[in-house]
Assembly symmetry: C2
Homo-oligomer: 324 residues x 2
Amino acid sequence: MSIQTALTKRLGIRHPVLLAPMDVVADASLASAVSGAGGLGILGGGYGDAAWLEREIARIKETQVRFGIGFITWSLAKQPRLLDLALESGPAAVMLSFGDPAPFAEPIKRSGAALICQVQTIDMAREAASVGADILVAQGTEAGGHGATRSTLTLVPELIDAIGPDVPVVAAGGIADGRGLAAALMLGASGVLMGTRFYATKEAAIAAEAKARVQRATGDETARGVVFDIARKRVWPAPFTGRCLRNDFLERWTGRELELVRRAEQEHAGYLAAREAGNFDIAAVIAGEAVGLVRDIPSAREVVVRVSQEAEALLKGATQRLSE
Amino acid sequence: MSIQTALTKRLGIRHPVLLAPMDVVADASLASAVSGAGGLGILGGGYGDAAWLEREIARIKETQVRFGIGFITWSLAKQPRLLDLALESGPAAVMLSFGDPAPFAEPIKRSGAALICQVQTIDMAREAASVGADILVAQGTEAGGHGATRSTLTLVPELIDAIGPDVPVVAAGGIADGRGLAAALMLGASGVLMGTRFYATKEAAIAAEAKARVQRATGDETARGVVFDIARKRVWPAPFTGRCLRNDFLERWTGRELELVRRAEQEHAGYLAAREAGNFDIAAVIAGEAVGLVRDIPSAREVVVRVSQEAEALLKGATQRLSE
């Protein structure tokens, strides 16, 4: 049994489950595991490290699975040649998030890859649709890492009403289990994209202590803001902010962001050193509100199978709630 | 056909749809319409105006429907005798939001009314369960009016995991149609509580221009903050903030809240006058992200019927998404 949607048809995948292209974390190991289990793994091209991208593309091609490649759009605009590198590898999809997709839409579509645009507002959705997005990812504020303020629960159906039925919509942010997938389908989405759930898997390229913190945290223990971006000197354009687990560093600087900007030179080195040392009282564990639904560190395959089967069971049992 | 859940059984209602006890807006006209359609209307006892409460209780009792009464808990604590007034009227439920329910739990439960506690975090849910809440409302940040930071999509399932299956959980915040109700049921909720959707109904006791603004707005046009609370001199205890439509007044003062606090004396009178005059470029239209799903101003009965039927159809069709 599997859940068939416009998304699974468009991408030729078995389960409507996509891996969020988490910068560096979503490497060939994680992405190929997700694709191998019947979802679609999307490499986290992130800020654009050409050497990393070349290596991970080579590695995932060896596994012969379908895969996608994701970029931070405003960062890709600074080194557009990375798109050529990506398209030469024959990805099933290229995902653009956070910025104007217009300059890249045409070459992506011409290559035969599906153009996936992640959006955070209705206006962004209209722009993405107008440049020919094949799939829209509606990302709610629940999501870990960068995002904006709208919540998944309202953004998904409002976006579908605004764009119409021709473009499959994927729900992102706040989803970590089959309940979330089944809920997303009821909202009209054709599937889900998950970051935090896959961050806490065996394959994810991140420190064990970071995964352990995700496993322990409740959803009340995350916050969205700009403190960590200031500390690592990667401040994003508005309206984007980042969601991470709260930690000592965040508590210390929240509400004092301008002071941190003024002290960034002093704080930056210490922040990088803490990240290097795996000190997550200072360094950020990038995670969304769905951490409260993450209670183990299974394989990525197990996540895809479990989420799909749980959603299938919920859909199958849905009519039992109805009585005459 | 109707959707049967632990909530409908516990409250003896036909549809798992509750009216949010919006301060003053949820009066006897609106609440009785919701109850008459098979949901549960909950009077908006709000900050505690005894004359209003007596009058609306008398009016709703004339209609002979089941009804609930809602209070802002920290405000009720200042005039606890209002609870006696409420309990004497024989409500089906008393709903407490925003504060410690412990002092009021015992008299409510002894009266035979169901104790409904609205919570915004996992810790609050545990506290409410420990004092004997019969029903928990998990309110996400999408909600209009006062609330906190967690999103409905993650709060509902995490809360259910934390509290267990014995207490029915109602999803609140971001729900305005049958897609939202069906999604909430997939998350494990037993029903929904809606404010914004009922705010834009014929019966709601609010200016026509406020309803029209809700009807026009997209979900991108709301914001959560404390500007309006400062202006009307009703600043709430942390962690609560209010979500309203953005307007000129909000744009003017967002980011300058401390200055507004210092000028509150001057600004207060002008704010009240604007509210009186129905000038919603200054006065707040209290609404949640679900505004983007509200495109008409029907009767409250029509809302209950439409939301229920749409959800029923989604549940009935759920298995069509499955293939071998």
